[in-house]
């Protein structure tokens, strides 16, 4: 079950704090509002996260990510709406929810003057875990065995973060809620944390994490939700969102052709606010490469369709002189421009998706071009983020 194919009613929030009869999603957020004074920091946020997913929660600073997460972690009673974790209401039944979730706050602290093992033993006792072997198992899982007798104060930031994750695993929670788990970490530590999260997913954990680092989220997340100014603007699997965004662009371009000046509102991408989990546009995907596309009305001098909403850049590197490649690409379908650079580098401005990139690569290779590297300008998630957010913060 994904964030895109669950309706508000299907989850059946249990307002009395008891479990619902149908198998509930791991996380179900409905009509979540929160006000600080007169400021709405969350506005009708609704989404679901299915069991076993890694859900990335993205948003600019001040968008309301941490407020949402605190409501999920039972630390905040929202002004209105509900959060259910595995069917339990986080506001009304916090004790049950705390047994199910492992929560790691942003910039979580550690007890410095005890060892790694003592740190985990303390939390094992605090969680009233009956088996002594749990601490060893968690140490092994998180690869902290070599550090187990070291004082926490002497650990690096990455290791402390790893220790925090180990702490959240002690009571074997079904759902991990991690607020900015990779913040302030060096690249190696980030990779280690990412690998650990993937390993945890293999163990069946549902992971909900917020982050600013979109490239990393795109590597590990099965679904994402993007929050802006307290509103969820889009949620769902990355690929699905990308496809629907492309379809939305296509629809907008068509509308623009029919009604010049009607390009402003990407309304279909915005969360409806009706309480149903956020959904993206409903039109079928339409590739700009498709000769039958409705976008064909706007064309390059070479006859290729050009949607104006998005220009992508592909960075290529070839052996030899890249200037020689320029005529091969110029004027081609979907190509908006080609620039040759030093050292065999080449920038291709184009409109299209992954399929288009694959076509370009196949074409160049079949034409005998010694292609060394192909690098999209930015990854899918970054594009989605930029496209669905306005960038104006509250």
């Amino acid at each position: 079950m994904s964030a895109l194919d669950v309706t508000a009613e299907a989850a059946g929030p249990a307002s009395d704090g008891t479990r619902v009869s149908a198998p509930p999603p791991a996380i179900s957020v409905r009509h979540l509002w929160h006000r600080y004074g007169s400021l709405d920091v969350l506005r009708d946020v609704s989404f679901d996260v299915a069991h076993g997913e890694i859900f990335g929660f993205i948003g600019p600073n001040g968008a309301g990510k941490t407020t949402t997460i605190r409501a999920m972690a039972t630390l905040l009673e929202p002004t209105a709406g509900s959060v259910h974790i595995d069917g339990y209401d986080a506001a009304l039944d916090p004790d049950e929810v705390r047994k199910i979730i492992g929560y790691m706050p942003d910039h979580a602290g550690v007890y410095e003057r005890i060892t790694v093992r003592e740190f985990l033993e303390f939390f094992a006792d605090a969680y009233r875990i009956p088996e002594l072997g749990v601490v060893d198992a968690v140490i092994e899982l998180t690869d902290l065995a070599k550090l187990s007798d070291r004082l926490v104060a002497t650990l690096s930031k990455g290791m402390k973060q790893r220790l925090q994750i180990a702490r959240t695993l002690l009571h074997d929670p079904k759902v991990l809620v991690l607020d900015e788990p990779a913040s302030d970490l060096d690249p190696r530590a980030r990779i280690e944390v990412r690998d650990l999260l993937l390993e945890l997913r293999e163990l069946g954990k549902t992971i909900f994490l917020s982050s600013h680092i979109l490239t990393e989220l795109s590597d590990i997340c099965t679904s994402v939700g993007i929050l802006e100014r307290g509103q969820l603007v889009v949620a769902g699997p990355i690929g699905e969102i990308a496809e629907r965004l492309a379809a939305e662009r296509g629809s907008r371009e068509t509308a623009a052709i029919a009604l010049p000046g009607a390009l402003e509102a990407p309304s279909g991408l915005r969360a409806s606010g009706t309480g149903a989990p956020a959904e993206v546009g409903v039109a079928p995907a339409a590739s700009p490469l498709d000769p039958g596309s409705e976008l064909g009305a706007v064309v390059t001098p070479g006859g290729a369709p050009i949607p104006q909403a998005t220009r992508k850049r592909l960075r290529l590197r070839v052996l030899g002189d890249s200037q020689a490649i320029v005529p091969m690409l110029e004027g081609g379908s979907g190509v908006l421009g080609v620039e040759a650079g030093p050292g065999g580098s080449l920038s291709l401005y184009y409109v299209g998706g992954d399929q288009y990139v694959a076509e370009v690569v196949r074409y160049l290779v079949s034409s005998g071009v010694a292609l060394v590297s192909v690098e999209p300008e930015r990854n899918e998630l970054e594009r989605i983020f930029l496209e669905v957010t306005r960038g104006d913060l509250t």
């Binding site: 972690a73 630390l75 506001a91 929560y103 309480g275």
Partner: protein
């Protein structure tokens, strides 16, 4: 199993186990399955390199000081007197150490968790605020006890000189233990309010140092004269009289009451209150932060009332009843401030818990909600003053004295009704819990001081006796009223009339504000429910 100690855990006793069995099981659990927070605090403290250094330096300095005092005193005094001086010197210093260091160390406990970013992780373990507070308390108390143990050999020196017995030395350490419990619980209560350890320590010391000096002079030096009056074996003047009283006083009702019950109550009731304040401050705003404080109130207020009544009846003296009125007035003023920050009503979380657990009307009445709190306060005020004044009316034989006490008590009760109503009304109109406390303080100040300023102005134009009538709305006027009634005089009737009108006004205003508050709370709760329903049902775009 406890991972930290490696021993088998003992599960908590079921609710059916009560009384001594529960206490026994609790002690067994404390030994076999110690509080995890306590264990962690001890491990961390053991690794603190400065701990043995500070302990050694403190002990060394104390030894040098006591030896110096002993050496100087021994030049021209007999050993028994030297022993007594050393005894008071050492335990006075030890009192200062415990009374200042205990709160300071405890003050870092919870504030450090908040500033260090470990609080939320700890909160989510399900350990619960009471268990965390107990662990912090035990950790700080252990640390203070460590100092006392280190100082014990120095404390034994007076016994070697003579003048005090070994039992008196031992009892002095027991009394210090009581002071340590009170100090540490106070420090924790302060700590639970702050997020910065440094600020928590500063504010705690700013309060605890003057308070401990006042307690030392009042309960130590001051009360020693009263103790000497009761038990001639106890010396008048020296501050550390309580341990000597235990061994020198004759055993009887006064011994049990004044040397056992009252000191235990003086430690236990405030320590319990501080613990409950700590737990309440640690709990989330949505949690029930009220019931435990309310239970304390339900125990402490009747206990205080009974003590005041018992003292007044036993001594058969108007002065004791007046002291009782003042004690009740101070206590209920404090409770008024405590309850002024109550939430308007129980949160959805608390309501859901009550529903799940089938909470009865009694439990719900003691739960969160400003109107519930103020209703309880009103009932207790009426009950306490009725009991005390009823006892005074029956006991005191001199009509003027009796009427004076009744007037004082009646005025005080009426003023407390006003303050309770005012607290409820301001809370009902305010969105934050801090504003009503500030407004209550302002109202109290204006009511106490304002009429006297008006009186001073009126004194320019009228005689001082007539101008005094202008001060009738001030609660301090009740003391003047008592004096006029007790001593009689030409202005008796006018003073009584002015006092009665003022008291009746306070009473009526208080009840009126209480009624207004009740309506306002209902209105706000209805509005909040409507807003919530609206937010959950109305789409964003339609706003």
């Amino acid at each position: 199993m406890s991972a930290q100690t490696g021993v088998a855990s003992i599960p908590p006793p079921p609710p059916s186990v009560r009384g001594f069995s529960r206490l026994k099981l609790g002690l067994e659990r404390l030994i076999a399955d110690p509080n995890p927070v306590w264990m962690r605090e001890l491990k961390a403290a053991a690794r603190l390199q400065r701990t043995p250094v500070v302990l050694a330096v403190t002990t060394g300095m104390m030894t040098l000081l006591v030896c110096s005092v002993g050496g100087i005193a021994a030049i021209d005094a007999e050993p028994a007197k030297v022993g007594v001086w050393l005894y008071h010197t050492f335990f006075s210093l030890a009192f200062a150490l415990v009374a200042w260091m205990g709160p300071a160390m405890a003050a870092t406990g919870i504030a450090a968790e908040r500033s260090g970013g470990t609080w939320e992780a700890l909160e989510l373990t399900g350990l619960g605020a009471p268990a965390i507070a107990r662990g912090k308390f035990l950790g700080a108390l252990t640390y203070v006890t460590l100092y006392l143990v280190m100082l014990a050999p120095v404390g034994a020196l007076p016994f070697l000189f003579g003048g005090v017995t070994a039992l008196e030395v031992l009892l002095a350490f027991v009394v210090l233990g009581g002071v340590a419990i009170l100090s540490v619980t106070f420090g924790l209560a302060m700590s639970s309010k702050f997020s910065s350890p440094a600020l928590a320590i500063l504010i705690t010391l700013l309060v605890s140092i003057p308070a401990s000096i006042a307690a030392y002079l009042g309960l130590g030096v001051g009360l020693s004269f009263a103790a000497n009056g009761l038990w001639h074996g106890v010396a008048a003047g020296p501050p550390v009289w309580l341990p000597t009283a235990y061994s020198r006083a004759e055993f009887g009702v006064e011994y049990v009451t004044l040397l056992i019950l009252v000191p235990v109550a003086l430690v236990a009731l405030p320590a319990w209150l501080f613990h409950e304040i700590t737990v309440a401050n640690m709990a989330a705003p949505s949690d029930d932060r009220s019931t435990r404080l309310r239970v304390w109130t339900l125990v402490a207020a009747p206990f205080l009332t009974a003590t005041c009544v018992a003292c007044g009846v036993a001594q058969n003296d108007a002065g004791w009843f007046i002291a009782g009125v003042v004690a009740l007035l101070a206590t209920y003023l404090f409770l008024g401030f405590l309850f002024a920050g109550e939430p308007l009503a129980p949160s959805r979380r608390v309501e859901a818990r009550w529903a799940r657990e089938g909470a009865g009307a009694g439990r719900r009445f003691l739960g969160p909600g400003v109107m519930r709190a103020c209703t309880l306060l009103l009932l207790l005020v009426v009950g306490s003053f009725a009991a005390l004044l009823g006892a005074a009316a029956v006991t005191l034989r001199v009509p003027s004295e009796r009427d004076g006490v009744l007037a004082l008590g009646g005025y005080a009760a009426a003023f407390l009704v006003f303050l309770t109503g005012f607290a409820a009304w301001t809370r009902a109109r305010s969105r934050s819990s801090g504003v009503p406390k500030v407004l209550l303080l302002g109202a109290l100040f204006l009511a106490v001081v304002g009429p006297w300023i008006a009186m001073a102005i009126a004194g320019i134009f009228e005689s001082s006796e007539r101008a005094l009538l202008v001060a009738a709305p001030s609660p301090l006027y009740a003391f003047h009223l008592h004096k006029v009634i007790s001593s009689g005089g030409p202005d008796l009737n006018v003073a009584v009339l002015a006092g009665s009108v003022a008291a009746a006004s306070w009473l009526l205003i208080g009840l009126g504000l209480f009624a207004l508050a009740s309506g306002r709370v209902e209105q706000r709760l209805t509005e909040e429910r409507a807003v919530r329903a609206g937010l959950e049902g109305v789409p964003v775009g339609s706003e």
